[in-house]
Symmetry: C2
Subunit: 292 residues, 2 copies
């Protein structure tokens, strides 16, 4: 593929090197030097590329936009997965919406107490390619019998489930196009009903620096249906904005009462201290979110 | 300036918009859309630009490389300044090496107990332009009589001071070219001698993801001269790598015994919780630094 002169859309040859040109934002363009394009498929939803890069290892790229990298994808995936599992004292059934790179289900599989992990991802092609070529993130998710890959619309899936899951993790893409419904109040209402009475959910709630309006709106929508809404943060080195927020909405359990001993030790980023300190917000977030 | 057809080096006109092209790294190029080039001067050391951007506010750019932005520069500046001040129970005299954007001295000026703040920066042009046009970061540093701007070589400055400072802050650029000596064992030895017997110092020790060798070497060099060496971390959204490390080396005081009540409340990022959690390192850093 690297020798081909016809490069896929979003890739350019500059000085005999292949570069991915990420040009979706109005005021910032990023050029990543590419070792090899390992996959190039057009799904019904998007152009799916797995690439090997010089600085970030293998990466998933959708419609020309970097989604996750082997260099640091584990940080995001650990923070969105391990935190809710540890916050729930006795989780058995987990729903993951999105997360096509399979990093989240791979993290969840580290917990023997989980019995059923339903992963609802609309784009089968993303999952196929990541399980095959992005194993630094997807691990051996394909082999775990507890993981059910459901290639359907997450919004419809939650409408049809009642009182079923202990935990739901919404690993959506940005709230543009197909993912916009995953940030709506109606979706959160249906998600609450898909949870058991003591269930909890986590969603990625965007950069607290660049997307503070989305974060605030997400919290407002969740507060209408969940008694406890807590935002936590992490660093995400290769994402624009560097810092990322997650919002946990719980029907019963509070993170302050989490049993840290349940935290898996098979992690590269999270540990007990990181778990606790992720809930400590900087002054500008405390102010922006009206928590002062 | 924006109307001129002759753009300075490192800037390009694309579709009638000015872009800063940051192309110093081998495997990543960044294009920032520029509203206006506010300053363009060639100093004896480098090309100095202050620009106004769409996404990051005003920024300092040296030889085409983004140094600090009004959007998030306060995070780095607060973390490198407030932590050492709070770790020392009774600081009076502080030395800052580098820090031409004047963000560090502006943070230090928030502490009434400091009597003398010597800022040693080799490039006068950077300081002049930042005090004039980057006031979102430099604040009113120019007006504070405790701050002495010394335009000289930091390496030579510490050779001539003995038993003088309570705190030294090394806010250097990357260890390439002129800043390389600021990462040497000899420099740390001289810096130790410039400190009082109970003094402490902090240096920026690069990205724990992209520059882990520099971080490790920095710690090794410091350990030869200081009994207590502690690395802490922060997020730096607009820096490559997103996460940044600082290393504190102390002759007497331990951060665990810091009096948090002394922490200034005039901050946008740091607070007591952030101070404490900055010392909590993720698993990969604990492993890389041999702290496990």
């Amino acid at each position: 593929m690297a020798g081909s002169k016809e490069l896929p859309k979003y890739f350019e040859m500059i000085d005999e090197q292949i570069w991915l040109v990420e040009d979706d934002r109005q005021n910032l363009k990023l050029y990543y030097r590419v070792k090899e394009i390992l996959a190039n498929r057009q799904s019904p939803f998007q152009q799916v590329n797995i690439i090997d890069t010089y600085d970030f290892g293998r990466c998933l790229v959708l419609d020309g936009v970097m989604q996750t990298t082997e260099l640091d994808g584990y940080i995001y995936n650990e923070m969105i997965s391990h935190v809710p599992v540890v916050c729930h004292p006795n989780p058995k059934k987990v729903l993951v919406i999105g997360g096509g790179d399979c990093g989240v289900v791979n993290e969840l599989a580290k917990y023997a107490e989980l019995e059923q992990i339903d992963m609802v991802e609309i784009d089968r092609v993303v999952v196929e390619e990541c399980l095959d070529k992005l194993t630094g993130i997807a691990g051996k998710a394909a082999e775990d019998k507890r993981i059910n890959f459901l290639f359907e619309d997450g919004v419809k899936h939650v409408q049809n489930k009642k009182d079923f899951y202990d935990i739901a993790i919404v690993d959506s893409s940005d709230p543009i196009g197909p993912a916009v419904e995953l940030f709506s109040e109606e979706f959160y209402f249906n998600l609450k009903n898909a949870l058991k009475k003591d269930g909890l959910m986590v969603c990625q709630s965007q950069s607290p620096i660049f997307n503070k309006d989305i974060l605030k709106k997400t919290r407002e929508n969740l507060k209408k249906h969940f008694p406890l809404v807590i935002t936590y943060k992490t660093v995400v080195p290769s994402y624009p904005g560097g810092m990322w927020s997650f919002t946990l909405a719980s029907l019963k359990y509070h993170p302050a009462e989490a049993n840290y001993r349940r935290l898996s030790s098979d992690t590269k980023f999270i540990n007990r201290d990181i778990f606790q300190s992720s809930m400590h917000l900087p002054n500008f977030m405390i102010k922006d979110l009206g928590l002062d």
